[in-house]
């Protein structure tokens, strides 16, 4: 009993410096954890495949929902991000047959498609990669987004060393393994794309014959 009391008394002391160190955001009056989760709980309904379970966050999402931690420069925030990256890196499934590149033509189609997993999509349909929503890729497609960097000439500038293959596969599979709070979806980890689709996207970016590298 006595020990527990001591421990409880100690907790605030331990917790306070840790929190201050990581510079967690103070959301202000009325927006504490209890009020916020009550709002989430009361504000949504299931629609098609987009069910309420999607509001539940994993540890990475919870961490990245606090901009002070997601982008903060404090030592604690930097260390916490390194930990998140290590955890995400550990989730990556590397190609089972050791083959990195598929068909760039199929890859272009996947990169073009923004379909998938919304409340208006059906379960079981193949998802797109959404890549052009955020990236310039092939020069011929001029309707590209700019949330991510240009990937035009990606293979030409990066070459096709084992290291490049591995990084690119890993980035598409789980972008947060290399940048904890990247805006890029974790396409493999979250089951958005299959291994075969990732292989085709790899070819789009890295095959010397792909228009991306012309």
């Amino acid at each position: 009993m006595k020990n527990i009391v001591k421990l409880v008394a100690l907790l605030p002391l331990l917790a306070a410096p840790a929190l201050a160190g990581s510079n967690a955001t103070d959301w202000g009056k009325g927006a504490g954890d209890a009020a916020f989760s009550a709002m989430l709980k009361n504000s949504f309904h299931d629609k098609g495949i987009a069910t309420l379970s999607r509001l539940k966050q994993d540890a990475t999402q919870a961490f990245c929902s606090d901009p002070a931690r997601a982008t903060g420069a404090s030592k604690a925030a930097v260390a916490a991000r390194a930990k998140i990256e290590a955890e995400n890196l550990a989730t990556i499934k590397w190609p089972t047959d050791g083959k990195w590149l598929g068909d760039w033509k199929a890859g272009e189609k996947i990169a073009q498609s923004g379909r998938g997993m919304t409340s208006s999509d059906k379960a079981g349909e193949a998802n797109g990669g959404n890549c052009y929503n955020c990236h310039q890729i092939s020069k011929a497609e001029i309707a590209y987004g700019t949330i991510g960097p240009s990937l035009h000439n990606y293979g030409k500038t990066r070459g096709n060393s084992e290291e490049t293959m591995r990084y690119t596969w890993g980035k598409i599979y789980n972008a947060k393994a290399y940048n904890a709070c990247s805006n890029m979806p974790r396409a493999g980890h979250m089951g958005i794309l299959t291994e075969a689709q990732i292989r085709d996207l790899m070819a789009l970016l890295l095959d010397p014959a792909s228009p991306v590298n012309q």
Partner: protein, 269 residues
């Protein structure tokens, strides 16, 4: 149809001129911009404004009453300038409400209408179309007026804080938050430029131009519909119509838009 044609023309012109892909895109955005300007003289939203005014004045529901005594925050029946000061705290409901939510309260209290079916009806239904026409009318009565949203009531302040927190809430299979797509200025999704909504510069770009007539869809959308579609793109479940999450986000964007001039009803891609 016409928009697509003009956008295509602009794209082809860009290609013919050659140069960097970036410049071609800028040109096509310019093309769409010009089209928007041309449309400004005859925004189809005006039709919805007229329809909304009619609905406002028409006796309806079991009580056979019109909405003309509805208190949108500036007193019973005052429409002029009301939209520019919403969302706000209302004592009678003890809730922070946006225009849509307040309209539902008035339909319930003044007209005796059961608003459950209106809340549940899908966007594009006749129930929701009437709501969109009503907010289009109300918003038009604030055109040109500065946004004046109060954060003095504790519940208003709380709603703002909750909206801010919601804006950064990341989840779902794509790890998206509002901030993913609206967190930086100058970024685009495909050719669509997106304002940085968490800033005093970017928030008014979004806030002061909705409700808006969407040319590509041929529909009039209120902010509730705008947000529901963004949650769809976010791969989230659907927000309840006039839920606290959507009102909180509106409170966040409107308060950041303080003093910007309302340009409602707007017109969009």
């Amino acid at each position: 149809m016409r928009l697509r044609l003009i956008a295509c023309l602009a794209l082809t012109a860009g290609l013919a001129a050659g140069g960097a892909a970036r410049a071609e895109n800028d040109q096509s955005i310019e093309g769409i911009e010009k089209y928007r300007e041309a449309l400004r003289d005859g925004n189809p939203a005006e039709l919805f404004e007229a329809q909304g005014e009619e609905l406002w004045k028409k006796p309806d529901g079991p009580k056979k009453a019109s909405l003309e005594k509805c208190d949108l925050g500036l007193g019973a029946g005052v429409v002029k300038g009301a939209y520019a000061q919403l969302p706000r705290y209302f004592k009678d409901t003890d809730r922070v409400q946006d225009a849509e939510s307040r309209l539902l309260t008035c339909k319930e209290k003044l007209q005796g209408i059961d608003v459950g079916p209106i809340i549940k009806a899908p966007f594009g239904s006749h129930e929701k179309d009437d709501m969109n026409a009503l907010v289009t009318y109300i918003s038009g009565q604030s055109k040109g007026m500065p946004v004046k949203v109060s954060l003095s009531h504790p519940k208003e302040k709380a709603m703002f804080n909750l909206g801010k927190r919601m804006f950064y809430y990341e989840g779902g299979p794509y790890d998206f938050a509002c901030a993913t797509c609206h967190g930086q200025s100058g970024a685009r999704i495909r050719l669509q430029e997106l304002p940085a909504l968490a800033t005093t510069k970017g928030a008014p770009v979004g806030w002061t131009s909705w409700p808006a007539y969407r040319v590509s869809a041929g529909q009039m959308w209120g902010m509730q519909w705008r947000l529901a579609d963004c949650f769809r793109q976010q791969r989230f479940p659907e927000p309840n119509y006039t839920s606290d999450a959507t009102i909180a986000l509106s409170m966040f964007m409107s308060a950041l838009s303080k003093d910007a001039k309302m340009d409602t009803p707007g017109i969009k891609r």
